[in-house]
Symmetry: C2
């Protein structure tokens, strides 16, 4: 099979190495030899680490589109446009599409799957979620027998690295963020990682497939991790909890809820020991129970492995229709399904506020544990709904004091 590769960044280079430098064993099992015929790059003259033959390089997507020998196009580019347009054009030209691009997949999954079906080609995107973890494939397989009603995941390496470091080294958020930026783990603008947009796209893709309805980034409630402090971390340790940035969605008959939030897990929870760049995904099926999948969430080789896995699937399953439907109509109940005990830290601007704050907390919950330290109150509540806690947060913030809170997932 002749293929084209769009992009020669980290993922593109990894894919090129596995296929063209036979770094992987894949060729031993593939029923057909794969040849990269064209590589799309912006600048053909740019010096690259990998020695790609000149006649393989092109800066014209049309050249690839019009090449009838090319049966599959691998998208190793990360933006929204022209990627989305290119994907549509590729499938209309009867070419299979493989992508690692979570932005395009989460936003246009429905359209792209339909286009694949109409044109009798495959649209595969294993690498868009969880790097090397075979979660999309496993989800599709599980769905053949099960109804999946819950997904939980640690899906962002940067935020997990920051929280792991803060916890193990007792350091402040801003310090650790700076270190992650210096090491190249975090972007200069870290918002996608620490405010939940990256995780939310991944959760959107998984939840859409699992629940059979197109759930997008904008349907998911997000809270970031910027407000976590060193004093929180000490408190979690004392209480036997670990803070993780969790993607969490639930389904019930005709409705779903999906959130990306910092939550507290028991230190005895498997997910509590997932550190640094590793990802984990838990899915719950009505027959099989809970399954969890753990592996490298990013990185050249792990992600390229997922892309080449999709390519092998196409080679080994020609003429096979995938039966994925996102036609189900579901109500988004936002935060409604999420209940739990809550951890709260309230920073009080002055001592006169103390009674006022305690009253506000008392109004919604008989407090289970409370500690006061200097100008901070730490509380663990009884079971509350997410809405109640959000309302309290708003009230406290409006009073000029501030609140950090996290649900305890048991």
């Amino acid at each position: 099979m002749k293929i084209a590769l769009l992009g020669m960044g980290t993922v593109g280079t990894g894919v090129y190495e596995i296929i063209n430098e036979e770094k992987g064993n894949y060729f031993a099992n593939a029923q057909e030899k794969v040849n990269i015929k064209k590589v799309l790059v912006r600048d053909k003259k740019k010096k690259r680490k990998l020695d790609v033959p000149d006649d393989m390089l092109t800066d014209s997507f049309d050249e690839i589109l019009n090449d009838e020998e090319i049966e599959t196009i691998i998208f190793a580019m990360g933006g929204m446009e022209p990627e989305y347009t290119y994907m549509k054009e590729a499938m209309k030209s009867k070419k299979h599409v493989i992508t690692a691009n979570k932005a395009v997949v989460s936003e246009y999954l429905d359209t792209l799957l339909n286009l694949a079906e109409q044109n009798d080609v495959m649209f595969l995107f294993e690498a868009s979620v969880g790097g090397g973890i075979p979660i999309i494939t496993s989800l599709k397989e599980t769905l053949k027998i099960n109804r999946i009603d819950e997904i939980k995941g640690i899906l962002n390496g940067t935020s997990n690295f920051i929280l792991s470091k803060m916890s193990s080294e007792g350091r402040d958020f801003s310090q650790v963020l700076k270190e992650a930026q210096d090491l190249g783990f975090a972007e200069a603008d870290p918002s996608a990682d620490i405010d939940g947009f990256d995780v939310s796209r991944k959760l959107a893709i998984l939840s859409s497939l699992a629940f059979g309805c197109h759930i997008k980034d904008e349907d998911i409630y997000k809270r970031g991790i910027r407000e976590v402090s060193k004093s929180d971390m000490e408190m979690f340790d004392n209480l036997g909890y670990v803070l993780k940035y969790l993607a969490h969605s639930k389904m019930e008959s005709d409705n779903y809820c999906a959130t990306v939030e910092p939550v507290l897990l028991s230190s005895k929870n498997i997910m509590s020991n997932v550190n640094e760049e590793f990802n984990i995904v838990s899915i719950h099926g009505n027959i099989i129970g809970e399954l969890q999948f753990y592996g490298k969430g990013a990185g050249k080789n792990a992600t390229a492995n997922a892309v080449v896995g999709d390519l092998l699937y196409i080679i080994n399953n020609e003429n096979k229709k995938e039966d994925i439907s996102l036609d189900r109509i579901m109500e988004n109940r936002k935060l409604d399904a999420f209940k739990g005990k809550y951890y709260m830290r309230i920073d009080i601007k002055n001592h006169e506020e103390f009674k006022n704050i305690i009253d506000m907390v008392d109004e919604i919950s008989k407090v289970k544990k409370m500690m006061v330290e200097k100008s901070q109150i730490f509380v663990v509540t009884e079971e509350l709904s997410a809405y109640t806690v959000n309302d309290l947060a708003q009230k406290i913030n409006e009073s000029g004091n501030s609140l950090f809170y996290a649900r305890i997932v048991e």
Copy 2:
């Protein structure tokens, strides 16, 4: 597709429910409707929980074998014979075989795979390892691109239940074993679970596929968990370790090592939080890095889910050859690859032995930590080879004192 089901025990009942009572969603995606035509049972008259139609029941395997309409036979029986003979006959009669039987698979994997190839049928056995965890499928997929050089797994629910309980409740081995037997989690003769034979068969199957060479139960070094005591558990807790019964194999160019042993993991290790009936498997690939898979290791629904998954694979992949070879010639280096710090507890018969024992330990390792309590010595050694420790154990046992030891896996 018409199929036959052999056995109506726990797994057989689960399979029947998913297929015939449409308990699962599988039919929504299967490209072909499945019908159970025959169910083989020992006694057709026996009262069953499930209402199987009389004309579906048979006590004659030949009736199934000679029925040309039956394309696939599901083996939900656990013994060695007549199962092995039946499997061979089934494939020679051009019928696909699916089995949950780890005893037959581990012992005859090579022969059975060859027979499948010769007769152009499939031989699938996802349910034979790790219950509902899709580990065989994931291993095969990973192998298409990676060389797998290490496997670690907690693969036996009974022993894991016993160790989890001993640890969390500070109780003795014999007490907890008795409770597990009363609850029906452990057999009256618990040897297969606590002496390693069950785990070893599962590790044999995984290692054979991963390393490409037929590794059998007898090739695997096994030590049981009978000698673990309450005082060990307290010590592990103090040292920050958790004891797990670990299946562990490693491969290096043309040789391998495989063991089933109690080992110590850091309490920060993901596997440390795998409790009771859950299983976990870790595989390490040269491209993808470490992947871990977690789920229910046994039970009616999880195991039946794996069996029906294999059935769907056959339906969806007709005329596809699997390319699994166990032809590689490898040397079994037994324990040679396993090195680590060791925990030891030595029970001394009388005080005069004390110096003698300390000398024996000193001879092989500068001790890193030592504690003496009544007539017990607790030691954590520096890094040692498994052979050195085995020799020491033998010497100490010969001196009339006794030793329990566990490698620390870091």
